[in-house]
């Protein structure tokens, strides 16, 4: 089992760092899945995570100048690692003007991801900083726990308003309440509501647009039967929503959410080369 990768381009490094920063804000520990062509950051919906789950997918070719991996076995050419993304974020933080960053899976006294940063310096041999990030290798028998979540049978799918706006609204609401209701309909309207004993606040968004979902075999757009004005809603933990919004450092190309009434809200944030899906379950 081997993994080696290298980033030389500063823009790619910067971009990769931003992705890692976002992941670090969403999960304390997560699973990194490596395949020959992609990297995935996965968080399963365990009770310990508060029921949220995350699936983030990157194409390695968009970030790495070199990328070689050999999985556990020929027919299972993948590697699953458990790691703390905050460490990776820290390692990359001071590497922003590096000449090169190499990442390698090693096993000296325990499995680690070694991030070696070659820094510019006046000396001929350069300055090298290495960060050994301990990782856990996840055995093959547990890989089934980390399958890609399927898009739920949602009631409403809607594009999100400008994330910056949404973020500042949610941040202020966070001071007033622990839970927030997200509701939306198929006419492009979305409301964010909080309600406490003392106060209730609602922010209304209009003209957001509803994404068209190609209806496959399992009709994923029950939109035909649904009253376009009727709202689907879910009440979620406001901190989870705030974490998701706070972690976004770049405006996504597409941002939308799927609401399964009273069950779960599924967020999809798409950038050019990164896709992030985040599931927040409704509060009981």
């Amino acid at each position: 089992m081997r993994f080696r990768a290298k980033i030389v381009d500063l823009a790619c490094l910067n971009h990769f760092s931003r992705v890692i920063n976002t992941i670090a804000r969403l999960a304390k520990t997560c699973t990194l899945r490596l395949t020959a062509s992609k990297l995935y950051f996965i968080l399963c919906d365990k009770v310990a995570n508060g029921g949220v789950s995350m699936w983030c997918e990157l194409s390695q070719g968009n970030f790495f100048d070199e990328f070689q991996m050999e999985g556990i076995a020929a027919e299972h050419n993948e590697i699953y690692l458990e790691l703390v993304p905050e460490y990776l974020s820290r390692a990359l933080k001071t590497a922003q003007n590096a000449k090169a960053v190499k990442i390698k899976l090693t096993n000296r006294h325990c499995p680690c991801l070694r991030v070696a940063v070659e820094l510019p310096s006046l000396s001929s041999s350069g300055r090298i900083v290495t960060h050994d990030i301990p990782v856990g290798v996840i055995p093959r028998r547990l890989w089934n726990d980390f399958r890609e979540p399927s898009v739920p049978d949602f009631d409403v799918s809607i594009y999100l308003p400008a994330l910056k706006t949404m973020k500042s609204v949610v941040e202020r609401m966070k001071n007033l309440s622990n839970s927030i209701v997200i509701e939306a309909n198929l006419s492009g309207e979305m409301n964010l509501k909080i309600e406490t004993d003392l106060v209730s606040v609602t922010t209304h968004f209009k003209d957001l647009g509803n994404p068209p979902w190609a209806s496959g075999d399992e009709s994923q757009s029950p939109a035909q039967d649904r009253d376009p004005e009727s709202m689907a809603e879910a009440c979620v933990d406001i901190r989870k929503l705030q974490q998701l919004l706070a972690g976004q450092q770049v405006n996504p190309t597409k941002a939308l959410c799927n609401i399964v009434s009273k069950r779960i809200v599924h967020f999809i944030l798409l950038h050019e080369d990164v896709s992030l899906q985040y599931f927040i379950p409704a509060l009981a």
Binding site: Y87, R114, A116, S124, V137, P139, R141
Partner: protein, 361 residues
């Protein structure tokens, strides 16, 4: 100085005004000597030099806002009035405004750490900028860092991981500096010392601001490390205790896969996980790690002794771990003061102190 201790010791001498501080556990000492040249006027009155100390906060309070001070203050007068027990700091500002601060002081004995840079086995000198750039890769919250020498004259800085921290859960960061980055390098090969980062960072920012090269003198683990800055108008010393290593064997660790802080060029290490995977597949991975010779056990080993006690101290050091070694947590408080343990226990009477002072606190 405020990063070192809570009290500022002032000692006017013929060679200048000396400002000093020591931390509560006597494991860090700093002194700044400003030559008379630094001042517009410098007079030491009376035959007996007056030594005093003031609370750091009070002194700093006078100079609170540096940018506004630079704009408004034209002169600063420092006057020590023994008869009134006052340290007067007078700021003469624009528009005829004069601010006078009277600080109460306490007389004290000379605060002097005993150290001898000549006897240190290793010395290196680097521009402050290089060291500051090196230190930036370590998190602000990191307590201790290990400085080591490697092959090819390279110098390494590594975050120190505590014994009781789980090695499988701790990130280890290591930085290498090549010989050319240093203005001078005369080091004993294979040596390394571990010291507290907080005070060192404080000195680094001063050094960077004054654009002075920093000289580091160090010796064996346990012996103090001395940082100096020197130019015509100011001479700075920072003395820090270092962690001692009871394993007297200075040889590089055995090459059996244990953490090798002695350098191998970064690319050259095994990445074979096949055997590891075989173990993991059948059951949860290997449990206990073999004890690593590179993480020394802690012994309460303060750096310096009183001059009179030096003979005895030498013997004590050879004994190795002092009997009744306090458990690691307690030791922490002895070395690194109140930063890490709230109001840690005071040093045991048998502890060697950095510098004795006669006033009982």
């Amino acid at each position: 100085l405020s990063r070192v201790g809570d009290e500022l010791y002032l000692e006017p001498t013929d060679s200048g005004l000396s400002l000093r501080a020591v931390n509560s556990s006597r494991s860090a000492f700093a002194s700044f000597l400003f030559a008379p040249l630094f001042f517009q006027r410098y007079e030491t009155g009376g035959p007996q030099p007056l030594r005093c100390k003031v609370p750091m906060k009070s002194f700093l309070g006078v100079f609170r806002s540096l940018p506004s001070l630079e704009k408004t203050v034209s002169k600063c007068l420092i006057l020590l009035q023994p008869r009134c027990n006052r340290l007067v700091l007078q700021l003469r500002c624009k528009y005829g405004v004069t601010k006078t601060h009277n600080l109460a002081f306490r007389e004290c004995e000379r605060l002097q750490a005993v150290f001898d840079t000549q006897s240190c086995a290793s010395t290196l000198c680097a521009p402050a900028r290089v060291l500051a750039e090196a230190v930036v890769h370590f998190p602000q919250t990191l307590a201790e860092v290990t400085l080591g020498t490697g092959p090819g004259g390279r110098i390494s800085l590594r975050n120190y991981v505590e014994d009781d921290a789980e090695p499988r859960k701790t990130m280890v960061t290591e930085l290498w500096l090549a010989e050319e980055e240093f203005q001078s390098l005369a080091v004993a090969p294979g040596s390394q010392i571990t010291f507290c980062l907080k005070e060192f960072r404080g000195l680094l920012s001063f050094a960077e601001a004054s654009n002075l090269p920093l000289v580091i003198h160090f010796d064996a683990p346990g012996r103090p490390v001395v940082f100096t800055l020197d130019d015509a108008i100011v001479e700075v010393h920072l003395v820090l205790a270092t962690l001692s290593d009871p394993l007297s064997d200075p040889q590089p660790p055995r090459a059996n896969g244990n953490v090798s802080h002695l350098p191998t060029p970064p690319d050259d290490f095994p990445d074979d996980l096949e055997s590891y995977m075989a173990t993991v597949e059948t059951e949860e991975g290997p449990g206990v790690l073999p004890p690593s010779p590179t993480f020394p056990q802690r012994t309460p080993h303060p750096a310096l002794g009183d001059p009179q006690q030096e003979e005895q101290d030498g013997e004590k050091e050879e004994e190795g771990a002092v009997p009744g070694t306090p458990p690691p947590k307690k030791f922490r408080s002895l070395f690194f003061g109140s930063v890490l343990t709230p109001g840690g226990p005071s040093p045991a009477p048998s502890q060697e102190v950095l510098a004795e002072d006669s006033d009982s606190d």
